[in-house]
């Protein structure tokens, strides 16, 4: 990564922001932002996404550290489980003599 601001054309890298609303909940993607480094990204995230008391914890992740699924391959990747009822354990009957299965 080159130094942000090192040339006129260089912009700050992109970070993705995850905010946890409360104890016991998971971090939820809140949005993205630009920042010169992770420390400033955390502060910018606080200003942009938690000013109304939403969060108890914030994660920032460099966007280029996230590997994503291909939006064009959505069909194959997320095909509905319809017609695959065998995936749901409720359709199986427990064997006799195995009470705690």
């Amino acid at each position: 990564m080159t130094t942000p601001g090192g040339s006129d054309r260089e912009t700050w890298p992109l970070f993705e922001v995850f905010v946890r609303a409360g104890r016991g909940l998971s971090h939820v993607h809140a949005g993205s932002l630009h920042a010169p480094d992770p420390e400033m990204a955390l502060r910018n995230a606080r200003d942009l996404y938690t000013r109304r008391g939403e969060g108890t914890s914030v994660w920032v992740v460099p966007a280029d550290a996230i590997t994503t699924s291909d939006p064009d391959a959505k069909g194959a990747f997320f095909e509905s489980p319809a017609g695959k009822n065998y995936r749901h354990a409720v359709y199986y009957t427990a064997s006799e003599g195995v009470p705690h299965l």
Partner: protein, 280 residues
């Protein structure tokens, strides 16, 4: 049947409820009345500092180096505006003036802001230099003022000091990055500090009315060591030196102001003066 959640039901910000609030009820110390002219004057000092700095930072909105920094400086400006409102409202209780009377219908010689806060924004580094001095000074001040024997001043200070802790962090982070960034950013940071430093001294000069308010007001001179310790630590990490410049004569506390205050007030006050009583 598998339970599913549609995207509409996911609130990315968690459970947020916004009640109908009266903004005036949110002001810290909003019950008290200033019990003497000296206390009102002291509140006016501090309120004017916060108001002028807030107005200055607002000018960065849409002009900061990046959108994220627009938002950061705007948030700091809004925090300071909240402090100014609390302090000016309190100052006005002594002679039945409102916070708006004090902000919009006083002329330049009636303001009591120190020259530091009246310094022009300059480039981003100069704004950060001013912000570093302002936030380190204000942090020391409000921390001490939160144990004032005046309940309203103590309440305002206790609320403000938490916000200023963040302002200070913001200024320190940027000072380190500009000083340790490129040759150009370092040159500008050094220049910004050099241009700012003549106005540091005024912040720590004791004068009326603070010497008439023991236990209520914080003597400015008592804050100098705490201020210096924080600045020294930041400068050591950033490999910066305290600029060797002569202190300005200044005089904001006596109503003598830097040349830029008049322009700032003209812009800040034009709407209220042209349309008295305007609301939106």
């Amino acid at each position: 049947m598998i339970e599913t959640t549609t995207p509409d039901e996911i609130d990315p910000h968690g459970e947020v409820t916004v009640d109908r609030v009266e903004l005036s009820a949110e002001l810290a110390g909003s019950e008290g009345r200033a019990s003497s002219a000296e206390i009102a004057q002291y509140a006016l000092w501090l309120g004017d500092d916060a108001l002028i700095l807030s107005q200055q930072l607002g000018a960065w909105i849409a002009h900061a180096p990046e959108l994220e920094e627009d938002v950061a400086l705007a948030n700091i400006a809004l925090d300071l505006l909240g402090h100014a409102r609390s302090l000016l409202r309190y100052a006005g209780t002594f002679d039945d003036r409102t916070e708006d009377d004090l902000a919009y219908f006083r002329d330049e010689p009636e303001f009591r802001s120190a020259w530091l806060f009246e310094q022009p924004n300059g480039d981003f580094a100069r704004t950060i230099a001013r912000q570093l001095v302002a936030s380190v000074y204000m942090y020391e001040l409000y921390r001490a003022l939160s144990s004032s024997s005046d309940a309203s001043l103590a309440a305002i200070a206790a609320k403000a000091v938490k916000e200023i802790d963040y302002h200070r962090d913001h200024a320190v982070q940027w000072t380190l990055r500009l000083a340790g960034g490129t040759d150009e950013s370092r040159r500008r940071m050094v220049r910004g500090l050099h241009d700012t430093w003549p106005y540091v001294d005024e912040l720590f000069r004791d004068s009326r009315p603070v010497d008439a308010l023991p236990g209520v007001a914080v003597a400015p001179s008592s804050l100098r060591d705490g201020f210096g310790a924080v600045i020294d630590a930041v400068f050591a990490e950033a490999d910066l030196a305290v600029p060797e410049v002569e202190p300005s004569a200044a005089g904001g506390r006596q109503g003598r102001h830097f040349s830029t205050l008049g322009h700032l007030l003209a812009e800040m006050q034009v709407l209220a003066r042209r349309h008295p009583g305007a609301t939106w």
